[in-house]
């Protein structure tokens, strides 16, 4: 008896919504970052779930790629956040608005 696909998708949607809420509502860059990770993993879960449903490996492979890229992105992202923090003394993204037009 397999777990129905709907549960996976529901969980994924909840995770994505939580991640999105975190990205949109939080002001601390680290928390936004966590939100982004949550969104990524929600998507990964969807990929793996559909892969399982179709009994093919493509989705799972893509999930691996996604993780690797996410890991690289974490490195770069954290470095940027640290650099911004050192420079401005804060990690509040609303105050990092020097690129406004």
């Amino acid at each position: 008896m397999r777990t129905p696909i709907a549960y996976f998708l529901l969980l994924s949607a909840i995770l994505f919504a939580l991640g999105s809420a975190s990205v949109l509502l939080r002001r601390n860059a680290l928390r936004i970052f966590m939100g982004v990770e949550l969104q990524l993993n929600a998507v990964n879960l969807t990929l793996v779930a559909f892969s399982r449903m179709h009994l093919e490996l493509d989705g799972q492979i893509l999930a691996f790629f996604s993780m690797v890229v996410a890991a690289a992105e974490v490195v770069v992202g954290l470095a940027i956040i640290v650099a911004v923090f050192r420079r401005t003394g804060t990690a509040d993204v609303d105050r990092a608005d020097v690129l406004r037009g």
Binding site: L24, L25, R27, I32, D94, A96, L99, R100, G101
Partner: protein, 626 residues
């Protein structure tokens, strides 16, 4: 030697280059180098003249091609030099009088710290002047024309640390520029009409007339007259000449008496064919000349600065040359030009002696009695004055009075009467200078020292020329120079109207003596107090004469007051209307672009929200479409 005529220009040019580059190291040899170059140039011109004389009269127009110069489309300009009686006469004056003035300048400028630059400019000036007179087409003529303008600027402003010299240089350059532009327009008209700048095409080869309508000829002639008026300091572009005396005195003698100002006369005589086709232009030349002769003669009477008085005298004499050219007596105009070069150079250089001997004092009110300290200078000035006043047998008589005589014989009574008045005034103003500066009581402190031998020697040569050149040039019945010039300028047709020649000579002598007598009556030593206090007694008349009838002041008012106000008004229009439109467009763009950055707040979360909104919208779109 005719083939080598190019060297007459090249040698002074090279010497000018050497002097300007390494003149500082040459020290006092700079002057000798420059003088030597001029002497060499003179020798070449003399050789060419002798060669020309050995040819029959009909073959005396030789063209020497030096190189092809400009090739632009249909216009090919070869660097041709023209050796004919007119150009070689001019070249002889430029190199002959020029070398004497250079020689004099060695002595005059011996204390100047920059002889190399001075003599470099002088040589360059002579080279350009020679290019002007030896040109075989209007392009080279124009090159020389502009070149002498440039050199006159450099030389008038040679003492550039003196504000009046710097502004006089600018004034000379800008005033003559007005004329130069007209000349340039005339050259354009020539190109449009003839498609060539060559003298033979434009002026007609020997014996033939150029094909040109009267109206076109009038337009071209008047434009060229505009150029000539500027360069020769005739009304109404004469204002630069008196101020130009701010330059060193040899410059005044070289540029503003003997050579550069004669360029205008040369141009009119060279192109006399066009003037003659257009009768109107010829009359205009005569009227301008006569008006200038009278105007400058009277203006000279009001000057206390000796050099300014001589400058107006130059303008007056040039007026007589224009009068002669305008009446169709080109050969006589050139005779006067040659004689005038001698005596005016002499007069200027003797006044230079006075300045040199008296620490630049040149105001006749503070001179007087110089004959005791400077007997040579006084005698030489007297020679120049006699030559200018027109007493027979000196140069002025054979040249200036010849113009009046011919005018009378031609039935041009107005020209004769007014010209005679001008001659009377000439005798008056030049006698005035002699009486006020050289005889009577000394009005200066200390003692004037007589000029050195080096400065006297060239003056003696000039004095001999001033005394006898006119007579020698006019010796044969038709005039030696006139006969020589005939192939180029045509014959002087003598009429038979009016009184006979003997009567005219008598009138002329009486008028000249009358002029001298008036001068003696007014300026004799016993009357010194009277003429010195004349401005206080008659401020109106003295002011009018001293300011040359306020024409200069009128120009200053037009340019300085009216011109500046107009410029200010135009500037306001430019600022408010033109700039307003341009800046308004810019400001509008700035305002509009101010609306754009709303989307670019720099707030990361707002961007993220728009990502999400976009993603949701895509999703909705996909779902709805399915």
């Amino acid at each position: 030697m005719i083939d080598l005529i190019g060297l007459a220009i090249a040698i002074p040019l090279v010497a000018a280059g050497v002097n300007m580059l390494v003149g500082a190291r040459l020290g006092r040899y700079a002057g000798w180098l420059a003088t030597g170059a001029m002497a060499a140039s003179f020798a070449i011109a003399l050789g060419a003249l002798l060669d020309l004389l050995s040819l029959p009269a009909g073959d005396r127009t030789q063209v020497v091609t030096v190189a092809e110069w400009i090739r632009a489309g249909a216009a090919t300009v070869t660097l041709d030099l023209r050796v004919d009686p007119l150009s070689i006469t001019m070249a002889m004056v430029v190199t002959g009088v020029g070398s004497l003035i250079h020689l004099y300048a060695i002595g005059y400028m011996e204390h100047d710290p920059r002889p190399g630059r001075f003599f470099g400019y002088m040589n360059l000036f002579c080279a350009f002047m020679l290019a002007l007179v030896l040109a075989n087409d209007f392009v080279l003529l124009y090159l020389g024309w502009e070149g002498v303008g440039l050199c006159s600027y450099l030389l008038i402003g040679f003492w550039s640390d003196r504000p009046e010299a710097a502004s006089a240089a600018k004034k000379a350059f800008i005033t003559t520029r007005v004329g130069d532009v007209m000349l340039l327009l005339g050259l354009f008209a020539i190109w449009i009409h003839f498609g060539s700048f060559d003298f033979d095409t434009v002026l007609g080869a020997e014996g033939s007339l150029p094909e040109i309508a009267t109206g076109t000829a009038t337009a071209i002639s008047l434009l060229m007259l505009g150029g000539a008026v500027g360069k020769s300091a005739q009304l109404p572009l004469h204002v630069w000449l008196p101020d130009a005396m701010a330059g060193p005195t040899p410059v005044s003698a070289l540029i503003h008496a003997a050579t550069m100002v004669t360029a205008g006369v040369y141009l009119v005589v060279r192109t006399h064919v066009l003037f003659e086709i257009s009768e109107i232009a010829l009359t205009v030349v005569a009227v301008i000349g006569l008006a200038g002769a009278l105007y400058a003669g009277f203006a000279s009477l009001g000057q206390y600065d000796m050099k300014r008085a001589l400058a107006y005298s130059t303008m007056s004499q040039l007026g007589f040359m224009f009068l002669a050219a305008g009446l169709g007596f080109s050969a006589v105009a050139i005779s006067l030009l040659v004689a005038h070069a001698f005596y005016k150079a002499l007069l200027f250089l003797t006044s230079g002696n006075v300045m040199h001997g008296l620490h630049d004092e040149i105001d006749v009110r503070r001179l007087g009695g110089l004959v005791r300290d400077m007997p040579w200078t006084a005698a030489l000035f007297a020679v120049g004055a006699l030559a200018l006043s027109g007493l027979p047998p000196f140069s002025g008589y054979f040249t200036k009075d010849a113009i009046l005589e011919l005018a009378s014989h031609d039935g041009e009574v107005w020209a004769y009467v007014l010209g005679s008045l001008g001659a009377l005034v000439s005798a008056w103003y030049i006698a005035r200078l002699f009486f006020t500066a050289f005889i009577g009581d000394r009005r200066y402190e200390g003692r004037a020292h007589e000029a050195s031998t080096l400065m006297r020697a060239p003056l003696v040569v000039l004095a001999i020329g001033a005394l006898f050149a006119g007579m020698w040039l006019a010796l044969t019945p038709d005039g030696r120079l006139a006969t020589f010039l005939e192939p180029v300028v045509g014959t002087v047709a003598e009429g038979h109207a009016g009184p006979s020649a003997q009567v005219l000579v008598a009138i002329s002598v009486v008028l000249t003596l009358l002029g001298i007598a008036i001068a003696w009556r007014l300026y004799r030593p016993a009357a010194a107090e009277r003429w010195i206090s004349f401005p206080e007694r008659e401020p109106g008349l003295a002011g009018a004469l001293g300011h040359a009838f306020y024409i200069d002041d009128l120009y200053a008012w037009i340019v300085g007051t009216v011109g500046l106000r107009g410029a200010a008004a135009l500037e306001g229009f430019d600022r408010i209307v033109v700039d307003g439109a341009v800046n308004g467009v810019g400001r509008l763009a700035v305002r509009l672009s101010g609306l754009a950055p709303i989307w670019q707040s720099g707030k990361v979360r707002r961007y993220a929200l728009s990502f999400l909104a976009g993603g949701v919208a895509l999703l909705v779109f996909a779902v709805v479409r399915v």
